[in-house]
């Protein structure tokens, strides 16, 4: 069949431009499109506005100085509460932060997907979110209640990266874990969306693993599909793999010390994805000895 959207991670990154707004799916240290992020690190693309329920995607991009503006309600490694590169970058004011509440973020993405300029939410009133986001506006209900609510602006994206369990060549993508996160919204809110997946399968085989409600992302919203086994590593991608807690601990340790981080980068992030996965395998073999 035509409509073959298969591409490599390098081809995906080749379509990005410096200064773009990039949405990254997943949540914290869960089902992050890490192989695509690693490919981005190998390119010259920089000065990005990154929109993310942040995890090590934000950490790696911040450590490499690729973020001009971060739009996020948090950055965390989940089992390790604080993302060390994110905290360090904030403490040296390395990028501009648009700090939004988790629900504001969701409705901002929804507004973008629905081609609305904003959506009204109660969240944010009374907090310092409006203080640190002076461009945020309120909107008054036109009905009898006259309520004044926060108008969360649409978080429209130039490009989105998401990682799912399965996809076909056309961009129909399936999650097999318990939580879809917001990956369909990221794709709908973006002008171009790139799906990496554990395995590309025939369309006819998609429903062999699970029911139709697991078909989260529709091909009409997808520009490119990348087969990238273990492509969410070291974040979780259940049921294909859990979070690699041992590796995440090593990442977090290294991130807290510039010298250790240089060594970590040299060992794991200086080659291509195949070299990365080989280095991870070697890391675990070494530990078992």
């Amino acid at each position: 069949m035509s409509r073959d959207k298969a591409m490599t991670a390098a081809e995906v990154v080749g379509r990005l431009r410096t200064g773009m707004t990039l949405g990254i799916g997943g949540w914290g240290s869960r089902r992050k499109p890490m192989a695509l992020v690693r490919a981005l690190l190998r390119s010259d693309v920089t000065d990005l506005t990154v929109v993310s329920y942040g995890g090590p995607d934000v950490g790696l991009l911040a450590a490499a100085g690729r973020i001009r503006t971060l739009v996020a309600p948090f950055a965390t490694l989940d089992s390790i509460a604080l993302e060390p590169h994110f905290t360090a970058a904030r403490q040296r004011a390395a990028f501009e932060l648009v700090e939004l509440d988790e629900a504001m973020f969701m409705w901002g993405l929804t507004a973008a997907a629905q081609r609305l300029p904003f959506l009204p939410v109660r969240a944010g009133l009374g907090s310092d979110v409006p203080r640190v986001n002076p461009r945020l506006r309120t909107v008054t209900s036109p009905y009898e209640d006259g309520e004044e609510l926060v108008a969360v602006p649409a978080l429209r994206l130039d490009a989105a990266f998401v990682h799912l369990n399965r996809a076909d060549l056309h961009g129909n993508a399936q999650y097999l874990g318990p939580d879809p996160y917001f990956d369909d919204l990221f794709c709908q809110a973006a002008d171009t969306a790139y799906v990496s997946c554990e395995r590309i399968v025939d369309t006819a085989d998609l429903l062999k693993a699970a029911g139709p409600q697991t078909l989260l992302v529709k091909r009409a919203f997808v520009t490119g599909v990348v087969q990238s086994p273990n492509g969410a590593h070291f974040t979780s991608c259940v049921p294909d793999h859990d979070r690699d807690e041992e590796f995440q601990r090593a990442y977090a340790r290294a991130a807290r010390d510039p010298e250790a981080w240089r060594a970590f980068t040299e060992r794991f992030l200086s080659g291509d994805e195949e070299a990365y996965q080989a280095a991870v395998t070697a890391f675990h073999e070494e530990r078992q000895r």
Partner: protein
């Protein structure tokens, strides 16, 4: 003191569990969202005893139908609550969350985002997370495992969860569903049942004095003439905590004896 209690050897952590559980006593058929180990044990204790209608999650996307020990998998799943539904559920109000606080002030303003000047913090923490949406939409309580002047501050550096003064300033849309209930620490239980809705000492855990609390708090608390003690756990509750919900003693790591 209620009858049938076995009060010998009750640890501070166990009093904290009971105090947390009490926060959900009259919650009804809503989601209990505990953050932290002691609140998690407390919510499960409430569900197993006096608040059987509570909904609980596995900490991820599932509503659990049974009550496993902390860290163990549930055998029964009764519902699905992925993050997108969880965030939407908050706005329905059918939830009582117990969040942590890096800083909290006398008005109940809470900070988990960063310490210092927001534009270049001295210590970046989690970010605002869901604190703004939580405090404006559903009942909210707080859990502080180590009561100190660094946490109970005169002014928080970044208002994440809105307190009473800030909600009032923001107007009727902010106060409409604003409902900050309690603060529970390793020293006692606090609420905002004062004319100006500032923090009041409501109960002391056994072994703690009001002076101790005052010394560990940066602002002046309202202290009634008679401050009750956190109630004793019943023998049945102690057994549930020790044998069913937390047999490995995770509570002692959060609140050391």
């Amino acid at each position: 003191m209620s009858g049938g209690t076995a009060t010998t050897g009750v640890t501070r952590a166990e009093y904290c569990v009971v105090a947390c559980a009490e926060a959900w006593r009259h919650a009804g058929e809503v989601l209990a969202s505990p953050m932290g180990i002691v609140p998690t044990i407390g919510a499960r204790l409430a569900r197993l005893t006096f608040a059987p209608d509570l909904l609980l999650t596995d900490g991820e996307a599932l509503l659990i139908g049974d009550v496993p020990a902390v860290g163990e998998r549930a055998d029964v799943v009764e519902g699905w609550l992925p993050y997108r539904q969880h965030l939407a559920l908050v706005a329905t109000g059918r939830r009582h969350v117990m969040m942590g606080a890096a800083q909290i002030d006398r008005h109940g303003n809470q900070n988990i985002s960063c310490v210092g000047d927001w534009s270049r913090p001295t210590r970046q923490l989690l970010g605002v997370r869901g604190a703004p949406v939580n405090t404006l939409n559903n009942p909210t309580s707080y859990w502080v495992p180590r009561h100190s002047r660094r946490v109970f501050v005169e002014r928080v550096d970044m208002v994440c969860g809105a307190g009473f003064d800030r909600a009032a300033e923001a107007g009727p849309s902010a106060t409409r569903f604003h409902d900050v209930r309690e603060v529970i620490s390793d020293l006692g239980v606090f609420d905002f049942a004062t004319p100006d809705r500032t923090m009041r000492l409501r109960a002391l855990h056994p072994g703690v004095t009001a002076e101790q609390v005052a010394q560990a708090t940066s602002f002046a608390l309202t202290v009634p003439d008679e401050v009750p003690r956190t109630r004793e756990p019943t023998a049945a509750e102690l057994r549930l905590i020790r044998e069913v919900i937390d047999p490995k003693g995770a509570r002692d790591r959060e609140v050391p004896a």
